[in-house]
């Protein structure tokens, strides 16, 4: 019973940490002359208060989940992928191009092609840093930061040039957006809200990633490379190849996030020229969501929903009590720091549990090897 309670505590740790951060936020709200109770009620309502709110939360969470899945893969290979922003953009560009070019084909086919295109686009943009790391020793933090900026400029170039909406091209003021995808190519809505099929696709993919990481050889090797590259190499695993592969896959999922935004939400690709006008920082927020989900694909589902709820609810709070949106940004930062800091308790408890479990086991018989799992399946 105690251990079940403990497991519950561990799982709710991010929630508790979020609440702690919101307490600090309450102080800031008070200083600004806002009633924190009223504010946080608005936050809750904005995230969960109605069918529409819940739909908004899930729509916001979907790209987070997709990016998080990619992060789960890459972090398991001990590769840091902060290039989600750029990979999302490239996936979206390719998928949009497909959707605008292949116009006389059935809707479901174009959607599938779009998803594949997004996967490929993101994979390329993730694969390049992967190759650079594996074969040229270019650190992935450097290459992905640079590639993010390059992707934004490429997007600006394409969206105000070759890919611009023909109706915009004639106007004197050109809005950097593409033409709208045909109605047939929109991801169908699930309920009469903004919630779309992409959410289900993302959840299905989460399970697929779980299977990939723990039930396939590929997944095993990725995890092995992450845990102990030397031993892996000794065991015959080509470490370089799996480093590249993990970044490639990670980028591919971020690319899918981009596709979903285009096919399911905006029905076109549009930007304002800023670095995160299109992505909404999903490339970074997805990393946070992955961490909230302990880098586990299934846990990333509730983690993404919770983080999406926070983002949506906070914006709703801004509207309701009219606080500056800067406060919302700072609050998001606080939540991230608090949740990340709270991990220590989960790790301590896990270690205590492992130690206790070891004591309970009978000592191994002489000659029988004991294989302690450092990275036990949660």
């Amino acid at each position: 019973m105690r251990s079940k309670l403990g497991t519950l505590f561990d799982a709710l740790l991010p929630v508790i940490a979020t609440l702690a951060a919101l307490v600090v936020g309450a102080v800031m709200l008070l200083i600004l002359g806002v009633n924190p109770i009223e504010a946080y009620k608005a936050l809750w309502d904005g995230a969960f208060g109605s069918a529409n709110s819940l739909a908004e939360t899930l729509v916001k969470a979907t790209p987070l989940l997709l990016v998080a899945l990619g992060i789960c893969i890459s972090f398991r290979a001990d590769v840091i992928n902060i290039g989600g922003e750029g990979q999302m953009i490239m996936g979206a560009i390719l998928a949009t191009w497909v959707g605008l070019t292949v116009t006389d084909a059935p809707g479901w086919l174009v959607i599938m092609l779009g998803l594949v295109a997004g996967f490929v686009g993101g994979a390329i943009w993730g694969g390049i840093p992967g190759l650079l790391k594996a074969y040229f020793n270019v650190n992935e933090i450097l290459s992905t930061v640079m590639m993010n900026a390059i992707a934004v400029q490429l997007m600006n170039f394409l969206l105000r040039g070759p890919m611009i909406d023909p109706s915009q091209a004639e106007l004197a003021s050109k809005i950097p957006q593409t033409a709208r995808l045909l109605d047939a190519f929109h991801l169908p809505r699930l309920v009469p809200t903004r919630l779309h099929l992409g959410a289900l696709i993302a959840v299905a993919l989460a399970f697929l990633v779980y299977i990939l990481l723990w039930r396939t050889t590929l997944g095993y090797r990725i995890r092995a490379v992450g845990q102990n590259p030397h031993a892996s190499r000794y065991a015959g695993i080509k470490v370089q190849r799996y480093v590249v592969l993990s970044l490639l896959l990670s980028g591919a999922f971020a690319g899918l996030a981009g596709v979903i935004q285009v096919y399911g939400v905006n029905y076109r690709m549009i930007t304002d020229g800023s670095a995160s006008g299109f992505t909404g920082s999903a490339g970074f927020n997805g990393i946070v969501a992955a961490l909230f989900g302990q880098l586990h694909p299934i846990l990333s589902i509730p983690a993404s929903v919770l983080f999406g709820a926070l983002l949506v609810g906070a914006n709703s709070m801004q509207r309701a009590v009219q606080v500056p949106s800067a406060l919302i940004t700072a609050l998001n930062g606080l939540v991230v720091v608090f949740v990340v800091s709270s991990e220590i308790w989960r790790r301590r408890r896990q270690r205590r549990r492992l130690a206790a479990a070891k004591e309970e086991e009978s000592p191994p018989k002489p000659g029988q090897a004991e294989a302690p799992k450092k990275d036990a399946k949660p």
Partner: protein, 348 residues
């Protein structure tokens, strides 16, 4: 651990299904109420203020796009007698299209009389949202497109007009005949202004060179300042620029005694010794018309524009800069020429 994850996912899925079964809530919309415009002598009637919500992509003090709308709303509030008659709320910093769409929809469902989507990137979202709220009036800028919707007003600024005037002045006052432009990205309002500026220079002094630099960002102040420095090193003694990051460029202009021509807001305070004139946006000109229309029941379907003719665009000269009389006269003639149509600005 795994079991709990399944459980949590199941709970979330269940709550999603349940809330979907609960059905979408109907948006509750208040009817716009007629507000007495004459001053009432004796008792103050119980009245509803005209309520406006505005969604903006940048900060309300960005000395550029968003500030111009915020200031205009404040002026309207003043004109109409204060928050009792005119009330507005805002969401700024909404550069993410998705978040802005959620904001617009939220405000609409709260029953505001007018929801202003002050950003050209919001159009796509507005197209989806406006039909769902037929009793709410929407205004979208800067653009001319209303999507044929009866409840969308489109508004734009003919910023090329002020650009033209600034260009004429710059070409007249420049001694090196090299003029520099610092822009963010070559789209929208920025492009209009810069194209108008170049036309103005070309019309006044075809031999003058205009060097244009789009720095690729709306917020990189350091790059904007170095762009200005580069222009100056290339010989420019008059500069202009648009969007909020030009505050960096203005500083360099002052340092090097290069003249500055501003747009979107009055930038004289940033460099009193070198700012010659600024094209100030007075959105209240279109706002007044929209509000009046909404009160009489016309919720949209029109495109409006601020330009020199309707005083929506005003060239505000810097009193601290001693503008030679001939230049002032030329500016005035140019403005008049644009207003009465004798000067036609051809854009690429």
């Amino acid at each position: 651990m795994k079991k709990f994850a399944w459980f949590l996912t199941l709970v979330l899925a269940l709550s999603l299904v349940l809330s979907a079964c609960g059905g979408a809530t109907e948006p509750v919309v208040e009817e716009p109420v007629e507000v007495a415009t004459e001053v009432v002598a004796t008792e103050a009637p119980v009245m509803e203020p005209f309520r406006v919500a505005v969604v903006m992509p940048s900060a309300i003090n960005d000395m550029a796009f968003s500030q111009s709308m915020y200031d205009a709303l404040l002026r309207i509030q003043d004109e109409m007698g204060g928050p009792d008659y005119f009330d507005f709320v805002y969401s700024e910093g909404m550069f993410v299209v998705d978040d802005a769409a959620a904001a617009i929809r939220d405000y609409a469902s709260q029953g505001f009389d007018l929801v202003i989507a002050h950003g050209s990137q919001y159009g796509s979202s507005l197209q989806e949202i406006a039909p769902d709220f037929p009793e709410t009036s929407f205004a979208w800028g800067t653009t001319a497109e209303t999507f044929g919707q009866p409840n969308i007003y489109a508004y734009e600024a003919a910023s090329q007009e002020g650009g033209y005037v600034n260009g004429v002045l710059a070409a007249t006052l420049s001694e090196s005949n090299i003029i520099g432009v610092v822009g963010p990205i070559e789209v929208g309002d920025a492009k209009l202004y810069v194209d108008g500026f170049k036309a103005g220079v070309a019309a006044t002094n075809p031999a003058a060179t205009v060097n244009v630099n789009y720095i690729g960002s709306f917020s990189d102040v350091a790059l904007a300042s170095e762009a200005a420095t580069t222009h100056i090193a290339a010989g420019a003694d008059a500069l202009t620029g648009t969007a909020q990051m030009v505050v960096g460029a203005i500083g360099k202009a002052e340092e090097n005694n290069a003249l500055w021509f501003g747009t979107q807001s009055n930038q004289s305070s940033l460099a009193p010794s070198v700012v010659v004139a600024s094209q100030v946006y007075h959105w209240e000109v279109v706002l007044r018309e929209i509000i009046a229309n909404v009160k009489t029941g016309t919720l949209g379907g029109q495109s409006l524009k601020i330009d020199l003719a309707n005083s929506g665009l005003v060239i505000e000269f810097n009193p601290d800069y001693a503008l030679p009389a001939e230049a002032q006269a030329l500016a005035d003639t140019t403005i008049q020429g644009i207003i009465d149509g004798s000067i036609v600005i051809t854009l690429p």
